[in-house]
């Protein structure tokens, strides 16, 4: 083997391997004759399989983060430079897996019975392979891996958006999603091919070093532009955001929840890694100008995305569309912060900015999960996703109304909730970087967003209910909503523990794979390889 791969390197991908095994089991086990009857009887075995696999992934990711036994995060890129498993990547992965676990619980309590029993294995394997792709996005450090991870996250998402085959909306949503996704990934690939043509490598670290040494090039410009299209599609950044509300409305609600957080967490982690690696090596004055230019461009995209999302949310009457625009706006805030990262390497540690993002991801996952969980309960009970159904919710089920109010206010950024501290930390980082215009944009956007976050609350409190029937909620849903409420308030009232966790676990590694050509494998000249092939053939 030319590129050797040791066990300790393979073990760093243990969380992904757990998911991969579960995907294979979910596809194969239901067609094996002894097990077929069990899987045809109910969805429960598959749900249990998914939960076990995700728990195994979470545990192995936590073990890697803590460095238990042989599971230690390596200080260099593994698998020949394809992926970096550093603390930041592992933290994002834990958030993604935990969120996927809650999505599976949401599915088993709300919409599971709409999925036919024969389709259950497909559904579970699609969700798990989507989570696999998203977690690879968080640690990709080679542009081939970036492309593979984005596609591995996208393909299951296309299929899941259209999983509800009987409905018109679902099929239209998946059509729009797949066309926009295919076009944006094709444009990204054209940019990446130019990057390869100019630099002769696809590894992120050597490219960043060359950029620092040589400054601007046409290849870099086209490559970064293509990459931003590809990542911007996953994050629903503004020129390519319009799939987001349609897909969120058309897909069933737990898929919407999945796409709104897990997919965006993976994409923002990828953007952060690329921007920070470029910034880490920017020593020369010439390179700094270019990187500040790229950072400003990304920040500007973030500002436009946040503003657009907040303004378009004004007219929404469907709760899923409202939350879709809200998630566009929040993606915009995160892109704004990512724009800082190219310039932030001189005067502060990279963890200083990365931790703010990690903290924000935790808060964002909690509040979005909660809002979508309440919306899914109401959609299931009333059969409609219109905001009119929220009229007088306080009288029909006070817990749901109070919880929804808390989640919406946290999304707005109300003090005492986690959303407030997330935005405050963003604002401080932007101010420290001297990007005062980003701070202004953040504040103005927060003020804008107050109206549409208050609209459902006003409807819930002051409008008369159309029906006085009490809403029944499954106990597990109470658990999920209570967990999300706990997350929102623990990060809001006592932000220090989660901040400390985020600070401790926000380290990124900027190092290529060690060069194996002269160590274990001997020389890599053509003659040496030919000689080795001869000796191996002779044995």
């Amino acid at each position: 083997m030319l590129v050797g791969m040791s066990w300790s390197e393979t073990l760093t991908l243990l969380p992904e391997l757990c998911l991969l095994v579960a995907v294979c089991v979910a596809l194969v086990a239901p067609v094996l004759p002894p097990l077929r009857a069990m899987f045809r009887a109910s969805h429960s075995p598959l749900t249990a399989l998914a939960i076990v696999a995700l728990l195994a992934s979470i545990i192995s990711a936590i073990a890697l983060l803590a460095g238990v036994g042989r599971l230690t995060p390596p200080d260099h890129a593994v698998l020949g430079g394809m992926v970096v498993v550093d603390q930041f990547a592992l933290s994002v992965k834990i958030i993604i897996y935990f969120f996927t676990l809650l999505v599976i619980i949401l599915w088993s309590n709300v919409t599971r019975n709409q999925v036919r029993l024969t389709d259950g294995p497909d559904y579970v394997s699609l969700v798990l392979s989507g989570a696999l792709g998203m977690s690879l996005m968080a640690s990709a450090s080679n542009f081939l891996m970036v492309f593979l991870a984005i596609e591995a996250a996208s393909f299951p998402s296309y299929a899941l958006a259209g999983f509800n085959k009987q409905t018109y909306r679902s099929s239209e949503a998946s059509l729009k999603y797949v066309l926009i996704g295919a076009a944006s990934s094709a444009l990204m690939l054209y940019g990446l091919s130019m990057l390869y043509g100019y630099y002769g490598t696809l590894d992120l670290v050597p490219i960043a070093q060359r950029v620092a040494a040589e400054g601007m090039s046409v290849g870099l410009l086209l490559g970064v532009f293509g990459l931003l299209i590809g990542i911007g599609f996953k994050l629903s950044a503004v020129p390519i955001h319009f799939w987001c509300p349609d897909v969120f409305e058309g897909a069933s609600i737990e898929i919407t929840t999945f796409l709104s957080v897990a997919s965006k967490a993976g994409a923002i982690a990828l953007l952060v890694r690329i921007m920070m690696t470029l910034g880490h090596f920017s020593s020369g004055e010439h390179a700094r100008q270019i990187l500040i230019g790229i950072g400003t461009f990304v920040g500007l995209v973030g500002v436009i995305t946040a503003t657009w999302g907040n303004l378009a949310a004004y007219y929404q009457t469907n709760i899923k569309r409202l939350l879709a625009y809200s998630s566009i706006a929040h993606a915009g805030y995160m892109i704004m912060l990512a724009g800082l990262l190219t310039a932030s390497m001189d005067n502060m540690q990279p963890t200083e900015v990365a931790y703010a993002l990690l903290f924000y991801l935790i808060v964002y996952a909690c509040m979005n999960l909660g809002a979508f969980a309440v919306a899914s309960v109401i959609a299931r009970e009333t059969g409609s996703e219109s905001l009119d159904e929220y009229a007088g919710l306080g009288q029909r089920n006070a817990f749901l109304a109070v919880a929804m109010g808390c989640f919406l206010l946290s999304l707005f950024g109300m003090p005492l909730t986690g959303g407030f501290w997330g935005k405050v930390r963003f604002g401080f980082q932007m101010w420290n970087e001297g990007m005062w215009w980003l701070v202004v944009a953040l504040i103005i956007n927060t003020v804008f967003s107050l109206y549409f976050y208050l609209k459902p609350i006003i409807i819930m409190v002051w409008k008369q209910p159309t029906s006085s029937r009490a809403l029944s909620v499954a106990p597990a849903m109470y658990g999920v909503i209570a967990l999300a409420l706990f997350g929102v308030f623990i990060t809001g009232l006592a932000p220090d523990p989660s901040t400390a966790w985020a600070k401790r676990n926000a380290d990124l590694v900027f190092a290529a794979a060690p060069d194996r050509s002269t160590t274990a494998e001997g020389e890599r000249t053509p003659e040496a390889i030919a000689a080795r092939i001869d000796t191996e053939a002779g044995q």
């Binding site: 596609e151 018109y168 909306r169 094709a186 002769g200 696809l202 409305e249």
Partner: protein, 111 residues
């Protein structure tokens, strides 16, 4: 002598055709064809850059010819096939509901 410039010109033409197809076609399969044209433009780029720029350089430095670009092109071909499979399944489902795959008809969701 055919050199790198010729291949880059070919890929630029393919890219232009692909973008024009995506922007003008109203048929979903037509758009998918445009996407495939762009993907193949990227493939031509990768293979040509690998052949003319980087394979030789690695040998000159005393290594084996670099194959990064070729590997990337292979992955693109495989994933383009997977993408087409998913896209066609979704188009078929759309056709079952709307009896057409004209994307102008996809306007139930808007706002």
């Amino acid at each position: 002598m055919i050199g790198l410039g010729h291949f880059l010109t070919l890929s630029a033409i393919l890219f232009g055709c692909g973008v024009a197809t995506i922007l003008t076609k109203r048929n979903a399969i037509g758009i998918l064809m445009g996407v495939e044209l762009i993907l193949n433009a990227a493939n031509v780029n990768l293979v040509a850059f690998n052949r003319f720029s980087w394979a030789g350089e690695a040998v000159a430095q005393g290594g084996v010819p670099a194959v990064d670009g070729l590997m990337f092109a292979m992955f693109i071909i495989v994933l383009a096939a997977a993408e087409a499979a998913i896209a066609l399944a979704i188009f078929l489902n759309f056709y079952n509901h709307f009896s057409t795959i004209d994307i102008e008809r996809a306007r139930m969701l808007s706002g």
